[in-house]
Symmetry: C3
Subunit: 315 residues, 3 copies
């Protein structure tokens, strides 16, 4: 997320009660998780093993739980609990804005777009032209929707990322990461009934142009779905997964987080994708393999009794 206007690092240091180390004069222009961070951004790190990655990322301001040497041109904000400090900043610059009507006054809705009854459209939402939104759809704040988009009933766009930090020593163990990312639905997308597409933690969850989703599909926070993909019903996609263009996922496929499915891959029903797979191939199984490999395996399993017989005959 980018701030509406730049904020001085000294103000941030005071706001979160951190010790400022390094350049005290610069301005922060946004806040992002480490994998989304850009120049000008605040990010955070609280595990020593990730210190180097964060200190040498594009981040300009780093909230950190130990005073280390500050790289040139950066600012460290040293505090005992960087996660909580980060969340405090997110909440300050993207506060929850309670709604009291179904369609926010700050929403922009394009010409030719029709909303069926009882669609919730949150604050700062933008919907393009010639869209059709069916009843009982919920569109959280800051969602952006292109032109010619169809969204079926009961679908939810922009719910919070499922992202928590565990504090095993506490009675209530999970601290919530507050999301400030958005959902972006590009033009010519159709989304079935009862789907859920979560917002990114700090970046955007994107559904690429011309992609079609069947019913009951879950898209995790920050996932980026390419153009002209086809996902059948009850598919689930983990957070930050990247699905390239023209991927076809059949029903009930599950895709883990933080991976890439290459362009044009086809994954058969009920498969589970635990890590990246190449494009242009056909996959099956949980965990997936290339479909023909998996089919051969299923055949080999059926031949185990034959193997047994051969062996015991030789005894």
């Amino acid at each position: 997320m980018k701030f509406e206007q730049a904020v001085s690092v000294q103000w941030i240091a005071d706001f979160i009660g951190a010790k400022l180390v390094g350049d005290a004069e610069q301005m922060a222009t946004g806040i992002n998780e480490i994998h989304k961070v850009q120049k000008g951004d605040i990010s955070f790190v609280d595990f020593e093993k990730y210190y180097n990655k964060c200190l040498h990322s594009a981040a300009t301001v780093i909230i950190i739980n130990k005073e280390v040497e500050c790289p040139a041109g950066k600012t460290l904000l040293v505090t005992a609990d960087p996660f909580s400090a980060y969340v405090k900043i997110v909440k300050r610059f993207r506060p929850f804005e309670p709604a009291n009507k179904m369609i926010s006054d700050t929403a922009e809705i394009g010409e030719g777009t029709h909303l069926q009854p009882n669609v919730f459209v949150g604050n700062h939402v933008k919907i393009g032209k010639n869209c059709l939104i069916h009843p009982n759809v919920t569109i959280y704040d800051h969602t952006i929707i292109g032109d010619n988009v169809i969204i079926h009933a009961g679908t939810v766009l922009g719910a919070d990322a499922f992202y928590f930090k565990r504090r095993k020593e506490r009675e209530v163990q999970y601290d919530k990461m507050v999301s400030c990312g958005r959902v972006i639905i590009e033009s010519d997308v159709e989304i079935g009934a009862g789907c859920t597409i979560d917002k990114g933690v700090s970046g955007d969850t994107i559904i690429g142009q011309g992609t079609k989703l069947d019913n009951h599909i879950h898209i995790g926070h920050g996932a980026v779905i390419g153009k002209n993909c086809l996902f059948a019903a009850q598919v689930g996609i983990g957070g930050k997964a990247i699905i390239e263009d023209e991927v076809i996922l059949w029903g009930q496929v599950g895709v883990s987080k933080d991976l890439v499915i290459g362009k044009g891959a086809i994954v058969y029903a009920q498969s589970g994708v635990p890590s990246s797979i190449e494009g242009g191939k056909v996959y099956f199984g949980s965990p997936v393999e290339e479909a023909r490999t998996k089919m051969k395996e299923l055949n080999w399993i059926k031949r185990i009794p034959e193997l047994w017989e051969k062996i015991t005959k030789n005894d």
Copy 2:
């Protein structure tokens, strides 16, 4: 779908800009996909390998992308893009009717039926007697519901079929098939919370009398579910599947499209049914096998190390 009144084939030819071949005098009484087509209907075909099937189907009017010999008593409408012509006709005779209130004035609701707050009831919907519809349910236009039906919160009846024609040469590759079928819920059915039952493309999706669906169930376009079936939560049924009476599907079962599950079959949890299976048996696995066969296989897999030991001992 049947038209409210018959339409001359010449009018249709002009409307879609097609060349009329064969009988120019007859009237079209409806429009249907090839597998649902009846006498009097318009249908379409755009692959040479399906020409014969379509030309010799019950269809009276055939939209086709090549001028071929017209069977006696039929009319061909020759046009470069039969799919788009078919969709144009569907949209003309079953136009989307935007709603501006939660319960349409054209809906009929039977005696003793209670709608909880915020149920959307579309145009031309018929609901029988003594039903109970819980909050935030969406019932699309033309849905028909029998007597004594219970529908839990958040369920969606009648969303569009997930059916697209791919045009790989275009930037936006998928063309939407516009659905004109309906959802029919017979009497004494109970549908759980957060279910989605799609309308048929041109025919009807049917849930048979006395069938009970748990939560989060997806029923694809044109599926026909028999009487007294029991589906546990998160089951997904593909388009045009036929599930005969008294079938029991346990949780998270996935059923592919265009198949038959025979009467009284029982399918264990998380199984995947890729093609037709006989009734009266118990199944398990993805892909399914008879449960006892699958159980034996699972046992054989555990014995592979024993096999290995026997073999290497013989070495």
Copy 3:
């Protein structure tokens, strides 16, 4: 369920048309299924093989379909169809109360709690302090929610248990068990979008303090989920399952009914849990095994061709 005030067993006998055997003077204080029954409760039994279990349970009043010897201090109510008699009592003491507004006048909503537009809050619902309920959520009657709870859009709390008695001889075969249990969401819980948590049949479905549920999760009737659990998207939990504290279930995991998952167990994505598993371990597969056992099996399957080669070489 406990009654608001005790009811004489004679009144109950007359109400359901049963023959009273045993103590005719005592008072019934509640009604419960056999596995939830407490002193003072009415319960029912209609299979001879369960007679002893029910007669010697904590139940004070037993609806039974055969006149048997009455244990001391108990009352039998003998009737041909105990299931229907039980349902008749439940409906009498927990009648469905039709709603005509989105937020019931009998609901109690705590300080600092914010409901986004179009949340349905049923009768006798209690919501604690500082909760945030997103749009289009449905909260059925009698649900209880603690403090600091977040519920995302489209979620449904308290739909009916999926519990039917089959009468194969009838045309409409399934008789509905009417639920009188509740859903209880403890403090500091977060529930994702499009989830469904069913009420218990006579007891309570409980989500323990600090537990976090992702989207599209189904929790069956009477399940008891511990504290600080983490369930990823599209998980399904069967009725009356007990999930102890700090259990982690990854996406699309299915859990059968009537079992226990021990404290701190971790179950990998798409696994199926058919029966109880110990805590503190990591599981995978459908049906699940310990993850390292399952991984070894998957490796052994890949070695079957090697086995085959060894054997045929020996031929």
